[in-house]
């Protein structure tokens, strides 16, 4: 076909001093803010003694680490899932931007160990089921409901699952990158076929293991509560964020005169994906909320009561605005999906919204204090109100964002900016969504 001429050439990305400044600046500023935030946080809550208040500081620190560790990890693993799903769908359009999700998935190499270490420390602090005596019938802390779940919710099994799942995902992500980079040197179909087989395996296993992973990491913070749609809701969060970061990176690289093979058409399709999966996220959000709201069963509404009527109310509605209204009404327009300026704004809103979403999954549950069950308080839990969105939160967010940015940019330099010998590269270069 006679189209605008396309030249497939080897193109490398080099980290500029501006990139370096941003990534390390975010990390350093974030670290300083986090440290300052930690030492200046002196909670004053009536009825709590000195020991409890000290414990609250610890809780806030590890909650923040868990929020960021989890969010950035699922984003990077969803980027690997994007490669796998596009691969088994035989998609052609995404090949031009394929190196971006590949680079994002390289964050797992550092994000995975971070999350394991954070969980190691956070488990006895944040997770009520991991507290001492909960599973022991002789203890004063004994909780019969949680003891009934002890076959699944116990510390050794938690770690076995976590390490097993994460190492499998990281192995697959590593192999995707390896095959793709080998393909650039060798050409041919061998690496494509291998990626195809591995993608099919990964997708099936990822579906099941990601569900369990999200129960372990997020749902078990409120160990009494459960929701059967929770894992797909988590997946939607990670998936939309991963798509958003890909979209932003594509815009950024094109604005620097790189990655010219990706055009407005690819940008448009990524934008459509962001639009569609934002609606998907809202669907899952509503599906989870509506049934619990309607049925009004005490053990189920406990989760929403804190968020909907408690001190987290503003954030709860704010994420709906950020994650649904902003992409829905702005990205509905065709030319705004293609515009860089509008794209940056919507992308930033979506990332903030989904980060806050994870924040809202963790914080209200993890900040609660455990005490001995009494007649007035049979659950043995002291509810702690929202402690404010302070510099500790901003600090940790900046720290992890800087780390993620640095890992991704570094990974981008390791190979050509797009796979030059992928069988679908020409199809992707000529991609056209029509008038």
């Amino acid at each position: 076909m006679e189209h605008a001429e396309v030249h497939i050439k080897e193109e490398k990305f080099e980290i500029s001093s501006g990139n370096k400044k941003w990534a390390f600046g975010l990390m350093i500023v974030g670290f300083l803010l986090a440290v300052i935030g930690y030492f200046t946080y002196h909670p004053h809550i009536e009825g709590l003694n000195e020991h409890d208040l000290h414990h609250l500081t610890q809780k806030r620190l590890w909650s923040n680490l868990l929020v960021n560790g989890y969010f950035f990890f699922i984003v990077s693993i969803c980027a690997a899932a994007f490669i796998a799903i596009s691969q088994i769908a035989n998609a052609g359009w995404y090949v031009a931007i394929r190196r971006i999700p590949e680079a994002m998935s390289e964050y797992t190499l550092i994000g995975g160990p971070i999350l394991v270490i954070v969980s190691l420390f956070a488990l006895p602090i944040l997770y009520h089921w991991a507290h001492e005596g909960i599973m022991n019938p002789e203890s004063a802390n004994f909780d019969a409901i949680l003891a009934g779940k002890s076959w699944y919710l116990n510390v050794p099994f938690f770690y076995v699952r976590m390490v097993l799942f994460m190492s499998f995902w990281m192995f697959c992500a590593h192999m995707f990158r390896k095959y793709s980079r080998k393909e650039d040197l060798e050409g041919g179909m061998t690496n494509y076929t291998k990626t195809y087989a591995l993608s099919a395996t990964f997708t099936v296993i990822f579906g099941f293991t990601f569900s369990m992973f999200s129960w372990d990491q997020m749902m078990s913070i409120d160990a009494h509560w459960y929701s059967t749609i929770f894992s797909i809701y988590n997946f939607a969060t990670g998936w939309v964020s991963a798509l958003t970061i890909m979209y932003l990176f594509t815009h950024y690289l094109r604005s620097k005169g790189l990655l010219n093979i990706a055009t407005d058409e690819h940008q448009h399709d990524l934008g459509k994906f962001m639009f569609a999966f934002s609606v998907f996220w809202t669907y899952m959000f509503t599906a989870q909320f509506l049934l619990i709201w309607y049925a009004n069963i005490p053990e189920e509404v406990a989760y929403y009561k804190e968020r909907l009527f408690g001190s987290y109310q503003f954030l709860f509605f704010f994420i709906l605005v950020l994650n649904f209204c902003v992409p829905f009404f702005i990205f509905m327009r065709r030319d705004w999906k293609r515009s860089r300026k509008v794209g940056y704004i919507v992308g930033a809103a979506l990332l903030l919204g989904h980060w806050l979403d994870v924040y809202l999954m963790v914080m209200p549950g993890s900040m609660n204090l455990a005490t001995l069950p009494t007649a007035e308080n049979p659950g043995g839990i002291i509810k702690v109100p929202f402690q404010g969105f302070g510099i500790m939160e901003i600090g940790f967010l900046c720290l992890f964002a800087g780390l993620f940015l640095w890992m991704t940019l570094k990974a981008l330099t390791k190979a050509n900016l797009y796979p030059t010998k992928h069988p679908y590269i020409m199809e992707s270069a000529l991609h056209d969504v029509g008038v």
């Binding site: 076909m1 006679e2 509506l290 709201w293 309607y294 056209d432 008038v435």
Partner: protein, 174 residues
């Protein structure tokens, strides 16, 4: 002067018809339309087809459905016949979501199908006016409108044949 006479060139390859159409347009012929069993990338832009307003229509239909759904539910459960169900307030907004959502989609779907029929002038009793039955199967047809005293039919035929046309013929459209 424009006539209702058309020259049709029949092809068996999307690449060939794309390059031929491009040549014809460059030489100033008035390409009326290109018929193909599937979408050819870039053809819309080449023919200068403008973006359809169907999306705007879809949005308006969706808004109609949404407004009707909300109005009906508020009227029924708050104004006309308030009933307490499960201890919920009369104006129980979360339960409106599924019905509003479904009605918006229903109105959009029906409205767009209707629009599609109207825009394409498809209705009962109308005979299908297919330029060549084979375009619904595996062939591609480019039709060029003849302008009196302007179009050089000989030269046109030659271009079509040179670029690999299986056949070239004339057709008169009513």
């Amino acid at each position: 002067m424009q006539t209702n006479k058309y020259i049709l060139g029949v092809y068996d390859n999307p690449d060939k018809i794309y390059s031929t159409t491009k040549k014809l347009i460059n030489k100033g012929y008035k390409v009326d339309d290109v018929y193909s069993p599937f979408a050819i990338h870039g053809m819309d832009r080449l023919l200068g087809i403008k973006r359809s307003n169907l999306t705007v229509a879809a949005f308006l239909f969706a808004m109609t459905g949404l407004t009707l759904a909300v109005t009906f539910q508020v009227y029924v459960s708050k104004i006309d016949w308030p009933m307490i169900i499960g201890g919920k307030p009369n104006l129980h907004i979360p339960t409106y979501i599924p019905i509003t959502f479904e009605l918006s989609i229903l109105f959009t779907a029906f409205g767009m199908v209707t629009c599609f029929f109207i825009v394409n002038r498809m209705f009962w009793g109308k005979n299908a006016d297919i330029i060549d039955p084979r375009v619904t199967d595996d062939l591609f047809v480019v039709s060029i409108q003849i302008q009196e005293n302007k179009t050089d039919i000989q030269a046109l035929n030659q271009i079509l044949v040179e670029n690999g046309a299986l056949e070239v013929r004339e057709r008169i459209k009513d």
